[in-house]
């Protein structure tokens, strides 16, 4: 990966730690949780309070949704951003939300703490540049057809604009397998740690699309040394306007968090968490 100047692993193996609203990303395990879409104030705030109680450090929620169909729910836009801002005021959780339009980047940055660039926009280079210019922390998800090298080059686009706050998230790639929504490529955790200094998260919700697989894949991601997880949680999944089959209930999320904490403690005890040795 000779073209990487800023995203490549540093020779001394030092990893980047980003500080976002008091949360240190790249140090310990950081869990971002929340609904797929912002639907109502009540839905977001109830979910936010629940995930905070369960131990999540950041709140996710989509106000702009890149949907497969133009007729599917597209998100609440500005109204959704205001709801997220309110949820932050009530819970103190920093906000992670997706941006899909270059014209929205600076505005979304006024409400959110982290701008997420989704899988479908990973190689939208004008969006990457704009995200770089915003100076806001960027969560860059892996495109569903992208190689590690392409992905890290996209991070490079953001870093090259002078924005050092980038972290990555694997969310599954397309393969011949249709049983799961995507094929979650957990090998990216040690691969990113080997090739880059940027923190790497795993999104088991999109990675599998199957409720029962979220827990085993989350545990596997932590065992592999992931810096964090992004998990979809909805206080009432059957009523969700999008991704209703892959959002955990708060109770299931809280149970998962308990297991993650114990696994993480075990990993720390072994001295191998996030070792990054391949």
């Amino acid at each position: 990966m000779k073209d990487l100047k800023l995203a490549a692993a540093s020779p001394d193996g030092e990893r980047t730690i980003l500080e976002v609203g008091g949360v240190r990303i790249g140090e310990g395990l950081v869990v971002i949780a929340g609904p797929c879409s912002v639907e109502t104030e009540d839905q977001v705030i109830r979910t936010a309070v629940a995930v905070k109680e369960a131990g999540a450090q950041m709140l996710r929620g989509g106000a702009f949704k890149p949907r497969t169909s133009p007729y599917a729910f597209q998100g609440l836009g500005l109204k959704g951003l205001k709801i997220l801002e309110k949820a932050k005021r009530e819970t103190g959780l920093p906000i992670v939300t997706e941006v899909i339009d270059t014209r929205d980047v600076s505005w979304v940055g006024e409400y959110a703490d982290v701008l997420q660039i989704g899988a479908r926009n990973m190689q939208n280079f004008s969006l990457l540049r704009e995200a770089g210019k915003s100076g806001k922390p960027i969560l860059l998800k892996r495109g569903m057809y992208s190689t590690l090298e392409e992905w890290l080059n996209c991070a490079e686009y953001i870093l090259a604009e002078g924005n050092a706050s980038v972290f990555l998230c694997e969310r599954g790639i397309r393969s011949f397998e249709t049983y799961t929504r995507n094929t979650l490529d957990l090998s990216m955790v040690p691969a990113v740690h080997a090739e880059s200094h940027l923190p790497i998260f795993i999104d088991p919700s999109h990675g599998t699309g199957i409720l029962g697989m979220i827990e085993p894949m989350s545990l596997a991601a932590v065992a592999a040394g992931a810096d964090g997880l992004e998990i979809e949680v909805h206080y009432d999944p059957p009523s969700a306007l999008s991704d209703k089959n892959q959002q955990l209930t708060p109770a299931a999320f809280a149970a998962l968090m308990g297991k993650l904490r114990r696994l993480r403690a075990f990993m720390d005890e072994m001295g191998s968490a996030g070792a990054g040795t391949v």
Partner: protein
């Protein structure tokens, strides 16, 4: 032209009618001062009705117009008889000074004035019961013009209000925020939001007043344009709050003085929290120090000290200190300070409200 366009126009006209009605009622309320207790004035009312009766307009029939104006004047009499207290402020309705006035007493009728000096003059002349003026801001410092007037104004400070100034980006409902290019507001507000404007590539355009900018947008409906002002201004002019709290500094507070011709008593009685005074220091070494020493020795906490250029080479010094002039220690310090300075004048003892 279609039904929606026409209804939009009608809605705009209604907004303006309401705003004009409010203004008419304000003027009616103020006439009371000149009427010496007799609110009804049949001669004047007959004149007004005569004018509305002129058959120059085709759709507004004389009977219809007279009916409306009879109602208006009846309402005007009711408002005068209710005995609303009035408080003047500088700016248009929705200005930060009006927000402060409402924070101090929400039941008083707040009356807009063009300039600061108009507020002082109208209180002095008895046209308003109270006036409210900004004296200092945590980002912008001293409000020079107000302090310069305070030096000579023969009015009492009867209250202080410390108000958080949370600027909002306001636009016409339905505006796509991504299309906003110009932002109108008072230069102070634009300066306080410079980072926000830069980040979003918005051009600042100076306007005489924050609320005036909001009003202009509501009335003229320019494209691609927003205003910076209070949430209250947004509500008043039917604008949408795109983002609240767009000022660069987290803490942005303005302190206001409420002025009246005479001191007011606390409704619960008891001592008031603070005093304000103004004086000229004697022109000699240690002149100012001597005054400050008096308060230091009496263990009276000075909370503000400001100097305002007065005559050439001379400065008016404003001090605020804790305590009430009825406390013996405070009275003694005031007495000593009066002797140690030129033109020492106690501007008032009052309570200060800190709004969250």
């Amino acid at each position: 032209m279609n039904l929606d366009d026409l209804r939009t126009d009608i809605d705009r006209i209604d907004e303006r009618l309401l705003s004009l009605l409010e203004e008419r009622m304000e003027k009616a309320l103020l006439t009371k001062v000149f009427k010496e207790g007799r609110v009804a004035d049949p001669k004047r009312e007959a004149d007004v009705l005569d004018r509305t009766r002129r058959p120059l307009r085709r759709l507004v029939s004389p009977d219809f117009a007279v009916g409306i104006w009879k109602n208006l004047m009846a309402e005007g009499r009711i408002i005068q008889e209710k005995g609303f207290h009035t408080i003047g402020f500088q700016g248009e309705h929705g200005a930060w000074s009006e927000v402060a006035a409402k924070a101090w007493n929400k039941d008083y009728a707040s009356i807009p004035c063009r300039e600061f000096v108009d507020v002082f003059d109208a209180v002095r002349d008895g046209n308003f019961d109270f006036g409210i003026v900004p004296v200092e801001n945590t980002l912008g410092g001293l409000v020079g013009p107000v302090n310069a007037i305070l030096v000579y104004a023969d009015l009492r400070i009867v209250a202080a209000v410390d108000l958080p100034v949370t600027h909002c980006l306001l636009s016409l409902p339905g505006t796509d925020y991504r299309e906003i290019r110009q932002v109108y507001s008072h230069s102070q507000a634009l300066t306080q939001c410079r980072g926000f404007l830069n980040r979003n590539r918005l051009n600042p355009v100076q306007y005489y007043d924050t609320a005036g900018a909001a009003k202009m947008i509501a009335e003229e409906r320019p494209r691609d344009t927003a205003a910076i002002g209070s949430r209250y201004a947004g509500e008043l002019y039917g604008l949408e709050v795109i983002k609240e709290g767009i000022q660069d500094a987290e803490v942005n507070r303005t302190r206001f003085f409420v002025l009246a011709r005479e001191d007011i008593e606390r409704s619960s009685g008891g001592l008031r929290q603070k005093c304000s005074a103004v004086f000229n220091a004697t022109d000699k070494a240690g002149g100012l120090f001597g005054v400050l020493e008096i308060f230091a020795k009496a263990e009276i906490n000075l909370t503000r000290i400001e100097s305002v250029p007065d005559k050439p080479g001379d400065y008016a010094i404003f001090i605020d200190f804790e305590g009430d002039e009825r406390e013996p220690g405070v009275a003694k310090a005031i007495d000593e300070a009066t002797k140690a300075t030129r033109g020492f004048r106690l501007l008032g003892c009052y309570d200060e409200a800190r709004v969250q």
